[in-house]
Symmetry: C2
Subunit: 181 residues, 2 copies
């Protein structure tokens, strides 16, 4: 069976998923824009429905703008000390097949960015924006995002100034085999 070959390495392989935590405390150090591009690159590698890739990105690293985000979004106060804040934007108008799957495509992108940040040693946290109208309007204003583009989510990141042990969210009772009951 396949499992015999991978039993020993499987735990290491899945470490990137199992050890990731939301990190909200950062050292006051900047990060090279090239590194930020790598995070976005990992994001763009996500799958999307019919490969429509309904996304764009705003990478915020100017202190003034980070402070604005921290002040305006009720759950983004950590942005004040962050090295950067990547806004994943959705493009519903790319959804010509009317699948209405662009939010899940953008969520897959966000998860990739978040995991990529963790994988290269940064600390990061997912900031929810869509579908909250008030929160979307904050980013539209601060970053001059056009009307037809949706600020979907944010990934706030920096050099971590805190360590968190893995959170065990595994709950076997939520697994059903072949049929619900």
């Amino acid at each position: 069976m396949f499992f015999e070959f991978i039993e020993e390495v499987i735990m290491n392989d899945l470490d990137v998923f199992l050890s990731r935590r939301s990190i909200r405390r950062y050292k006051q150090e900047s990060i090279e824009p090239d590194v930020m591009i790598q995070l976005v690159k990992a994001g763009m590698a996500a799958p999307s429905a019919f490969n429509q890739q309904p996304w764009e990105f705003v990478i915020v690293h100017e202190t003034k703008l980070l402070e604005k985000i921290a002040k305006l979004h009720p759950f983004a106060s950590m942005a004040r000390y962050a090295a950067g804040f990547i806004i994943v934007c959705g493009l519903p108008k790319k959804d010509t097949l009317l699948l209405d799957m662009w939010p899940q495509d953008c969520a897959a992108v966000t998860e990739n960015v978040l995991l990529a940040a963790h994988k290269i040693g940064l600390g990061a946290v997912w900031i929810g924006i869509y579908p909250n109208e008030k929160h979307m309007s904050i980013f539209k204003k601060v970053c001059h995002i056009p009307k037809e583009v949706i600020p979907f989510s944010g990934v706030c990141f920096g050099i971590p100034d805190t360590e968190k042990p893995p959170a065990d969210r595994f709950d076997e009772s939520r697994i059903h085999w072949n049929s619900w009951e």
Copy 2:
């Protein structure tokens, strides 16, 4: 700068994201249920809005059911040859804060499962289900999923019988710095 320390390893670190492709051809080999549980474990490690964890999982591996899925879902014909099919289910009733973010939480979970499968050497593909009513009803029927639970997405997987080079989806023109224009 931080980048100097990681420049050499960054490409290796991001390989799991950049090399993942949708794999739809599998060898006729079964996979140990314990491995399937590990994929779900990676899924459950995803973040969720206010840590509501609005998800459950159905792991399908019975040939009869895989064939039913292949027959009924227009984009899941590869399930016939798959070792398994993990249905990520959403629990809107866990959303007591009315954030309406459960679909993005479930998408993050799905992306984790998909990446985890790739990371341990399996081939996998994301099958969209929600919000298509017809596709949701297929899984409700086949797996007896209760009315209040939403079959959100599927991850079809097996031992890969095909190799695909990385798809370069990177498009720098989609990156905006600090402000849209």
